[in-house]
Structure formats: C-alpha cells, structure tokens
C-alpha cells in the first residue's frame, strides 16, 4: 500500500463513517472497511474505477466534486478523506471547506511541489518538473493546483483550519528523517489530519 495511505489508516477510528473523495478503484476504501470496519462511501468520476470499486462491494457515487458537494449534509461523516486529489480540483480551498463541513475531520494527502528535486529541476533546467513521481507535462497534466507543504499550512492558517497531525513521506521507506525535519524540502507526499 502507498505510504500515505498507511498513515491515513492509523487515523481512522474503527467503526467510523468515512467518505473518500476521489476513491479510485476502491482498494483503499475496501481495506478500511476490512481492517477498520468503517462504513464507507466513495466518490469517483472515472468509469473504469467506478466499476472496479462497485465490484469490490463498495458504495460508490459518480459525482464530480468540482461541481460541488452540497448534497452531503453537514457533519454527516466522521472523516472525509482526499488522497492525492487536492492538486486536481478546480478550487482546492473550497473543497477543504466542504470536507470539514461534511466531516468532523479531514485527511488530505498531496505531492509536495517544494521537494528539492522539483526545485533543482526548475532552477537548473528552467522547465516544469517531470519525474516518475509527477509524470505529466505541464500542458496535459490533471494536476492544476500544485502546492508545497508551506503553502498548504499557510492556507490552513488563513482559513482557521487546525492541523491535528501530519506525516511526511520521503524517499526512504522506513524512516523519513529528512522529510520530517525539513518537510518542505524533503517530503515527496504530505499527509495531514485537519479539523475546524
């Protein structure tokens, strides 16, 4: 399992109600249901992912979160998860607001654009970074709102969002020491647990 997802799993209380925004093929939500016994619902827009996730026995609603989430009542979920989708939505700030309106807590993961490789790529090549980790060219990428760890925390401060927990995923699998010490430079993926 992707390391950011391992962190998320630890933060999900057993038996809680979880909404997964951009749930993909549902592997993670399925795992949460199996290991944490959560009551889950996933939102997704990709047809193949939707079929796969429904085939896993999950409750999946085809819905584009860029068009709003106002069909979900206030505080109707314990946790709203959005893994690796913050950078693809049209209005990340509004989605964060909606996550915390719908859920008591939110869990967000995103690729850190402040990673030293991105910086070097941009500084020395003068071009938008392309890597195994972020494989798209600037003109055909679904990632339209890249941010850094520092950017995200500044946004949370501005919006009065409290950060309950954060984990950084670096290059090294087990002990991401550098990523923890200097996340904005060394974290590949940032993982946050937030609330209001």
């Amino acid at each position: 399992m992707r390391l950011d997802l391992t962190h998320i799993q630890r933060w999900i209380a057993p038996g809680s109600k979880v909404l997964d925004l951009g749930c993909g093929n549902g592997v993670f939500l399925r795992q949460l249901q199996d290991t944490r016994n959560v009551r889950g619902m996933g939102l997704e827009i990709d047809p193949a992912n939707i079929s796969a996730a429904i085939g896993r026995g999950l409750n999946i609603v085809e819905q584009n979160m860029d068009l709003g989430l106002d069909n979900f009542p206030d505080q109707s979920f314990d946790t709203v998860v959005m893994a690796h989708a913050l950078q693809v939505v049209h209005y990340p700030d509004r989605v964060l607001d909606e996550m915390l309106r719908i859920g008591r807590e939110g869990v967000v993961t995103f690729p850190n654009f402040g990673h030293w490789r991105c910086r070097i790529y941009l500084a020395f090549r003068g071009r938008m970074p392309v890597s195994k980790f972020m494989p798209h060219s600037w003109y055909d990428t679904p990632n339209i709102h890249f941010c850094t760890v520092t950017d995200f925390e500044a946004l949370c401060r501005d919006k009065g969002i409290r950060i309950l927990d954060r984990e950084m995923v670096g290059n090294t699998q087990r002990r991401p020491l550098l990523a923890r010490l200097w996340p904005n430079l060394f974290a590949l993926t940032a993982v946050y647990r937030i609330t209001r």
Partner: protein, 382 residues
C-alpha cells in the same frame, strides 16, 4: 424450460399463473375480490429461498422478460440482454421472477378480463391502480412462491418506482433495490405527455368511452398515436438523428414536384404505433399512465424523500443515462441525494449513452459492467 435457443439465454420459457382469492384493498378505496397474476421464472430457487430477484416492468412491459416462448419466437423477452446465464442478473445464481402487473393486458387481471359482477369485460370500470397496489400484489406472489425476502427488487422507469415503493412498504422483504432511469415523481412535462397519450385514445371514436371490447372495436388510431408520442419521449434527439436523420422513405424534395414525401422517421413512428395497437389494450395504457402520474414517493412522508427513505433498510443502486430526457439524470440524482441524506447505502452511475430513456433496455457495455459489478454482492450475505 426444455431446449436452449441461444447461448446465455434462459431458453424456452413458459408463463405461469397464480390466482388469489383473498380480496386486495386498493389505494383508491375499492377492493378487488380476486385476481390472477401471470408470471415467468428463470433459474432455481435455492433451499433457503434467499436468491430470488423480482423484476418490475415498465409502462408497456409484461412478464416475458427473458428467453423465448417457442423455437420460432423471433424476439426474446424485453430484458433478455440482462437476464440469463452469465448475464448481470445471472440465472445460474438467481431465481428471477417477473410478472405482468395487475391491470395489465398480457394475462393478469385487468381491464380486458371479465368482471365477475357483470359478466362483461371490466373495460374502463376496472379500478384505478397505484404503484403501491402492484407492490402489494407482488408481495402476495412472493408469499405464494415461498419467498420471504427478495435478494433484489429491480426495475427501470415505472419499474424503478415499484422497486423504490417496495423499499418503503416492505423494508424487511428486500436486501437490494436497483432503480434504473426512474424518478421519485413525474414532472409537469411528463404528465403533459401522458395526457396527450390519453387524450389521443379517448378521442378515437372507436374508444366508445372505454367500452370498445363490448362493441368489438379497437381504438387503434388513438392507441397508435399515444404510442407515437410516447416513443418520441423514449428516444433522444441524437438517437433519432442517427437512426433516421432526414432520410426519405418515399418521394423527392426536388423543385417542381408537388407530391408529399415521407421521411423515414414518419414511417418508423407509424409502424411503432400500429404494432403497439395490435398488442396492447387502450384501457390498460390509460391505467398505467395514470399510475405513473399519481406516483409520488414521498407524498405520505411530509413530501420529504429523506424521511421516506429513512424507512428503507436495503442497499440501493441507481443508474441514469446521459441523454434520457424523460427521466433525466437529475431525477436520479435527487433519489441519490435523498438516500445520502437519509444515510442509506447507495451507489450511483450516470451512463454516457445517446439512446435516451430507451437505453435502460439496451445492452450498453458500461451499463452492463456496472450492473454486473453490483450484482456480485447481491445474495452474498454480509
């Protein structure tokens, strides 16, 4: 079920019938002393009777949902694409029941049946029915078949309304509810189209105020016209453009020719109309369109669909089609939103399809895939 006509078909099927002599109190306040229901079954009921699936038919449907009635049968049942071995409603796993609804004209008691009180056909005097009356009669059929809980109740269009009503009337009697191209109530536009259809029938002189059977006539013109109007609402603009465009069947639009032409779409509609008036009863059509018009899922729940769905205990699958303008995706999303707000398990897909409302009957790859994926969990106890 003797031979198999085609692979993955349920083969040759024989309709069965059940007579119920316990009076049925109808929503209109009248009572039906006794009635007959014609139905078909596909697959085997398991020992626990836990694998039964009910198929509810739409406006002009009937009990013949899958398979063939004889070796020479040209066309299989109306939902054969989805019911059969290895199909989404897999007859190797499920025991599938489909009946002709009360008030129908394909064998179940309805306006063409003889009214025991008068010895004449019921005709227009057959009691008006609501969707809930069908659900109540379907429940009796379930009991007759030894089914105490359906693994799933499934329906498209008007059939989806029956499936939803099941979830509210008998919440302990179904585990899954599949609602396809349906709505919680008709819009003014929907009712308007139904009214044109009824008006077409009623203004046909052969209708004779609904007593046409006694006079040995058929309001073929009116019923055909009703079907033509209905048929337009089942198709999308796109689908009609693709199917017919402005192609001519007869004549020319060249200058200097004053003879009128016939477009392909004209001849198609006429054909649909005349076919339909041969196989369908006008009073049944009026009865069914009224049941559609009167249906309002949440009426008795303070007009609050969330409150209504709080009664439900089953899981839901809701499917809509992008170009369906009769029951548009928006109508399905209203169902889904109410289920979400009522905290009920629901999955929803909007299938990209150019065929309009008719798409729910057609074998479309993504629709097939999603339906099949969902049905994998049905009958598997959690």
């Amino acid at each position: 079920m003797s031979q198999t006509k085609a692979k993955s078909s349920v083969g040759i099927v024989e309709p069965q019938s059940a007579y119920f002599d316990e009076p049925l109190l109808l929503a209109c306040g009248r009572e039906l002393a006794g009635y007959e229901l014609v139905y078909e079954c596909y697959g085997q009921l398991n020992a626990e009777a836990s694998n039964a699936v009910l198929i509810c038919h739409a406006l002009s449907g009937n009990h013949h949902a899958a398979g063939y009635h004889s070796e020479d049968d040209r066309k299989p049942g109306w939902w054969d694409a989805y019911i059969g071995p290895g199909k989404p409603i897999d007859t190797e796993r499920f025991f599938v029941v489909c009946l002709n609804n009360l008030g129908g004209c394909h064998g179940s008691t309805g306006p063409t049946s003889i009214n025991p009180d008068t010895g004449k056909p019921w005709g227009p005097d057959f009691p008006p029915l609501r969707v809930r009356d069908w659900v109540h009669s379907q429940k009796r059929l379930a009991e007759r078949l030894g089914i105490t809980c359906w693994a799933a109740v499934i329906g498209g269009s008007l059939g989806g309304m029956q499936a939803m009503r099941w979830a509210l009337e008998y919440p302990d009697m179904l585990q899954h509810c599949v609602v396809i191209a349906s709505a919680m109530k008709l819009s003014a536009q929907n009712i308007a189209f139904n009214e044109i259809a009824r008006h077409a029938i009623q203004s046909d002189p052969d209708f004779a105020d609904g007593h046409y059977l006694e006079q040995d006539s058929v309001p073929a013109q009116g019923l055909g016209l009703a079907r033509m109007v209905g048929h337009i609402t089942y198709l999308s603009d796109d689908a009609m453009a693709q199917k017919f465009g402005r192609d001519l069947r007869r004549g020319t639009l060249d200058q200097g020719d004053e003879n009128s032409v016939e477009f392909q779409v004209q001849s198609y509609l006429r054909y649909q109309g005349s076919q339909f008036s041969n196989r369908f009863d006008a009073n049944t059509y009026i009865l069914m369109t009224r049941a559609l018009d009167y249906f309002d899922l949440a009426r008795e729940y303070g007009d609050d669909p969330v409150e209504a769905f709080r009664r439900a205990k089953c899981s839901f699958l809701v499917i809509s089609f992008s170009t369906d303008w009769r029951f548009s995706p928006q109508r399905s999303r209203e169902i889904v939103d109410a289920l979400i707000a009522a905290d009920r398990p629901v999955s929803y897909c909007e299938i990209e399809a150019h065929e309009g409302h008719d798409a729910f009957l057609l074998p479309l790859p993504r629709y097939m895939e999603v339906f099949d994926a969902y049905m994998q969990r049905v009958g598997v106890s959690d």
